[in-house]
Symmetry: C2
Subunit: 255 residues, 2 copies
DNA sequence: CGAAGCATTGACCCTATTCAATTTTGGTGG
DNA sequence: CCACCAAAATTGAATAGGGTCAATGCTTCG
């Protein structure tokens, strides 16, 4: 019945209105096949065939990819309410893996959810699309981070993003939110070494910007952190009515 | 009528069979609104509202994102046959820009192509999905590159990818293919400085692996280059019958 | 033919890595 | 409840990969 926890609903509603009937339908679907899994195991694996759509109801997970020599890049952080593998079955195999960080509660949905949503619950179809677009935008922002930002900036950007995303899902309490990455995992996310992650975090702490302990992140000075990160939350909002920042020069007005 | 150039068709067919009727339909649609545009202008801009679907019929383009202070990251290289903004109108605004590198020929398609394809030309719908999945996989591979590979490895990986993608579309002649990025653009793609791009390229040339001049890339020793790049082309083939490399340890067999 | 953009080179420097050791934390069993 | 162990965090010192700055040569194209 009530498979969708409140923050999952908050997250989805962030993309637009959802009818009660739609929410009930989705909630019912999600409740039919729920998996509870322990921390730090692979949920889906690089090379496997693709599968159904998943909703992460509770806990944190990651998407990652490994090079043949064992180096690992974390590609996304999946938070409660995040959806993955929408329409994944259209591909034949996974190019990456998904793993739990904490214990997780996972709804495994039928592969025809999208088709049913399309015909019967258009508001749900739209929410699924939005989630997919935002995920892609986050991926692009991370690429930009890895390519252009310094280590300090990347760290600040990631903290801003995770805080902002959790705020949108009503997962924060004041300036504090959960934070379930170890320093080694932070390193694999930010393309740096664990040692340097440690030093960077200490700098940010020493400067009074953040606190990070007991799997809790507290942001003491969000404006300064955002400025340091060159953080423009526009990419998290491309599916809301208002867009990002405009920073352009010339234009093909032909189009 | 024959708006789809042969290599565009080759590329799409790479994802699976396409009926003649479907190809005719798509070709006809594409021919209705074709834009020919000069090199190095923005086609779509960060902050703009979203628009219709596009097929790049001819020429090279890039997807890029800028930080507020002007640093630029190139996120994708769009080659002839590449499709972008499938379903883009579901989002409200662009978080990135698209620009031409060479002169380009661009088909601008109606936003309901996907819907029509779904009902009348399912094989086309599948091809569109496949293109989207492969684009996402490429994006993930690039993130992995930026985070984990050294400068040399990143360079080698990019060259392997562009050569392989062009080969799939029958755009190569033997060991040679087109290459329309300046060293500065390579730098913006690989997250390094133009100076170091130059030095890295010279190393690869000196070692007899490649040649790069007159907008032409020649790969003299593909196996060595692939090995240096840790290149596993699986991510380009997730929509074909055969998957990537398996490199796993333990598994949540619960699922 | 001139100018602007692109490629190339050298010298110096700094950000982030490497390696290695130590401390702290968290979880487990006795 | 404490002892123990493994994983995570922290610290220091040395170093390398890649960045910065600045100058020069080479193309391309109007």
């Amino acid at each position: 019945m009530c498979a969708l926890t409140p923050h999952v609903t908050y997250k989805l509603r962030g993309f637009g209105p959802m009818e009660c009937a739609s929410e009930d339908w989705l909630s019912d679907l999600a409740s039919r096949n729920i998996r509870t899994l322990p921390p730090r195991i692979d949920l889906l694996r690089q090379g496997d065939g693709t599968g159904p759509m998943h909703i992460l109801l509770d806990g944190w997970a990651i998407r990652y990819k490994m090079l043949v020599d064992g180096r690992r890049q974390i590609l996304s952080i999946l938070l409660p309410g995040d959806i993955f593998d929408i329409n994944g079955f259209m591909a034949k195999s996974m190019d990456h893996s998904i793993a739990s960080l904490t214990g997780v509660k996972l709804a495994v949905l039928d592969k025809d959810v999208l088709a049913t949503a399309r015909s019967d619950y258009p508001d749900v179809e739209k929410l699924l699309w939005c989630d997919m677009h935002v995920s892609a935008a986050i991926q692009r922002e991370w690429s930009t981070s890895l390519g252009q930002r310094t280590a300090r900036e990347r760290m600040a950007q990631l903290l801003c993003e995770l805080y902002t995303r959790q705020t949108s899902s009503h997962l924060c309490e004041g300036q504090a939110c959960a934070f379930h990455l170890t320093q080694t995992e932070l390193a694999e996310t930010l393309g740096m070494t664990p040692v340097y992650v440690n030093r960077t975090l200490q700098d940010l702490r020493r400067e009074g910007l953040i606190q990070l302990e007991n799997r809790t992140l507290t942001i003491h000075d969000l404006p300064s952190l955002e400025q340091l990160a060159l953080f423009d939350p526009g990419y998290l909002r491309i599916c809301e009515s208002d867009g990002g920042t405009d920073l352009n020069k010339e234009r093909a007005d032909v189009l």
